[in-house]
């Protein structure tokens, strides 16, 4: 068990340039226990890998799946790391780079565009003082563009940690949506 914790810094050294050096260990013993319970809930059924990884990403700080978690899940399910990473790197909803406590997605598909999502993007970048794809300095918010998430009846729309808000026509609407999310206790959808 401990191997996953103590060896992580080694994993990230040398020629392995795909990963940033880990200054902190993500996979703590506490997180391992939580991951184990998720794997149990899915009966460690490798066919349900996509759902498991989504749930694990939810409870991982910064909402992403670092290599050490990929290795851990692979060993628990008896799957090669290449298979786990094939899934992580393929799906839009799974991230292999750190994001933030709160991930904000604005829809940039055609429906939201024709009703003015460009203003929405500008408003979000202004409020958070970051560009799309970036994380705020305090590590709290990450902003990304997302393809259609099926909220076209209330477009233009955003998702805050999976909770959908719309229609957001002005900067005031956007601020209000973020405030409502915070007021709701920051729960996930």
């Amino acid at each position: 068990m401990n191997a996953y914790v103590t060896n992580t810094s080694n994993t990230h050294q040398g020629s392995d340039s795909l990963y940033k050096p880990a200054h902190t260990t993500i996979l703590t013993p506490e997180l391992m226990v939580q991951i184990d319970s998720i794997l149990e809930r899915f009966a460690k059924d490798p066919t349900r890998l996509v759902g498991m990884l989504l749930d694990i990403q939810d409870i991982t700080p910064k909402q992403y799946l670092p290599k050490e978690i990929g290795v851990y899940v692979g060993e628990k399910l008896d799957l090669p790391l290449s298979r786990v990473y094939d899934v992580i790197s393929f799906y839009e909803a799974l991230s292999d780079v750190p994001r933030a406590d709160i991930v904000i997605q604005f829809c940039d598909s055609v429906v939201c565009k024709v009703v003015g999502s460009r203003r929405l993007k500008e408003a979000l970048e202004g409020i958070l003082d970051i560009k799309t794809g970036e994380t705020t300095k305090d590590g709290k918010y990450h902003l990304e563009a997302a393809p259609c998430f099926g909220a076209c009846d209330i477009s233009p729309a955003i998702r805050v940690n999976g909770v959908v808000y719309g229609p957001l026509k002005t900067e005031e609407d956007v601020r209000d949506a973020l405030a409502r999310y915070e007021k709701g206790g920051g729960a996930r959808a």
Partner: protein, 455 residues
């Protein structure tokens, strides 16, 4: 709402979706109750008589599909509900699951009984994760009350449902890709044959139906095929859920009888356009659908009339676009979507989408090369004919129909006022997108190198 009907949506807002008892109190599971008193062949005949066609987009006769599935030999078959509603401007399946989750479970059990399957799976897109607890609760309650599980209502029929999650890949709406994803793999389509009806999920004979198809099948069993056929036209019987959105006053999911004109749908149900705006185009069936100019608005919304006009029901999406968006801007957005969503398995789709993306970008910049239009048409044709799956085959529907209906949009020097404004805005967006792309490459070492391109 004038002009809308409630057949598939008959139970909407009539019961508490968290409480099975309240659903049963208004006659819930009436369709399954009736089905269990019939033989599978009789049941399939009712679905065939109703004339319903698959609502996922392919519009294949559900009766024939079920009969074929029933005829495939095998003890252990599965039914999959495709709840990976990924077409932009399509959200009617979300509405069905939000407002009547038990109807869907009922439809799946009916399909299972018809084809001889014991297991059902719902593949729910990640974007609808908020529906997971609701669906799981509905499944659990139905099982506790013997509407699912072993020996449903004391009969010899056993059927259970498991909920699976997608993770944000449009291509997983394609049947074999969905199955790959459900086997814990990345979403890339399979070669056919073997067809999934013979060898699908876990190598078992598999029936894949859309949420609306299954819900409608349950309603047809409940109210009768004749009641369904009372709506619609001879060749397009029944009702259809549409997802109406874009520049209309009242966007939403509505159930309509087939046969209403597009104009009536937009004006009466959608409330028309905003004051002072004129219609630029309508796109039917999501991003993979064709577009129509205002002159085609008198087309009745039926499979046969739309086909005559070169259009398609597709996913049931109706996107209304007014004069604030130019045709080229619209196509650019559609193309961005397909560049991003192509799984990369086959060359025509992966490379074709990128190259056409570049060509459309040159049109947006007002600087196309002399042969760009012909090249785009040629690539689009190759993609339609040679792509591995439906994504690549249909990705260029919007472009090809735009070239047909809006040839002026592709002529140099023909850019109107709206287009000029669009050009400037596009230049800004591109500048910022380039900035993001650089930031991502340096800062994050992502496998998903494409991400920055569409920010």
């Amino acid at each position: 709402m004038p002009n809308t009907v409630s057949f598939i949506t008959a139970h909407f807002d009539k019961y508490n979706t968290d409480d099975l008892a309240s659903c049963l109190a208004i006659g819930g599971f009436g369709g399954l109750k009736r089905a269990l008193g019939l033989t599978p062949a009789e049941l399939i005949q009712i679905i065939a008589d109703s004339g319903i066609q698959g609502r996922g987009g392919a519009a294949y006769s559900t009766g024939i599909k079920w009969r074929q599935a029933a005829e495939v030999p095998g003890e252990d078959k599965v039914v999959i509900c495709n709840a990976d509603e990924g077409e932009p401007c399509t959200f009617k399946d979300r509405t069905l699951m939000e407002k009547d989750p038990f109807r869907l479970l009922e439809g799946m059990a009916i399909a299972g009984y018809a084809v001889g399957a014991k297991h059902g799976y719902i593949y729910l897109r990640e974007e609808y994760r908020h529906l997971r607890p609701k669906l799981q609760k509905a499944i659990d309650q139905a099982r506790t009350n013997q509407w699912l599980g072993s020996h449903i209502q004391g009969t010899n029929f056993s059927f259970d449902i498991t909920l699976y999650s997608g993770a944000g890949a449009y291509v997983c709406g394609e049947g074999s890709t969905l199955i790959e994803s459900m086997e814990g793999k990345s979403g890339r389509p399979r070669i056919k044959p073997p067809f999934i009806k013979e060898c699908g999920l876990f190598q078992k004979p598999t029936l894949v139906n859309n949420v609306e198809t299954l819900s409608a099948a349950a309603a047809i069993l409940d109210f009768g095929a004749e009641a369904f056929k009372a709506y619609g036209t001879e060749k397009s019987p029944g009702t259809k859920l549409i997802s109406l959105a874009g520049n209309v006053r009242r966007p939403g999911a509505y159930e309509i009888p087939f046969g209403m004109t597009l104009e009536t749908i937009i004006e009466t149900i959608g409330g028309g356009l905003e004051e002072g705006r004129t219609l630029r185009l309508v796109q039917l069936g999501g991003a993979s659908g064709r577009i129509a100019p205002a002159s085609l608005l008198d087309t009745p919304y039926t499979y046969e009339d739309l086909a005559k006009a070169g259009l398609d029901v597709g996913s049931g999406g109706i996107l209304v676009v007014d004069d604030r968006t130019s045709v080229i801007e619209f196509l650019e957005s559609i193309q961005d979507f397909f560049i991003h969503e192509s799984c990369g398995k086959c060359t025509p789709c992966r490379e074709g989408n990128r190259q056409i993306g570049r060509i459309i970008a040159r049109f947006a910049d007002g600087a196309p090369r002399p042969d760009d239009l012909e090249t785009a048409k040629r690539f689009a044709t190759i993609m339609s004919n040679c792509s591995f799956c439906g994504l690549g085959e249909t990705a260029q529907s919007a472009l090809l129909s735009a070239i047909r209906h809006f040839p002026e949009a592709f002529e140099l020097g023909a850019f109107g006022e709206g287009d000029e404004a669009g050009l400037k805005a596009n230049a800004n967006v591109k500048a910022s997108a380039a900035g993001v792309a650089v930031g991502e490459t340096i800062g994050k070492h992502s496998f998903k190198g494409e991400r920055g391109e569409r920010a």
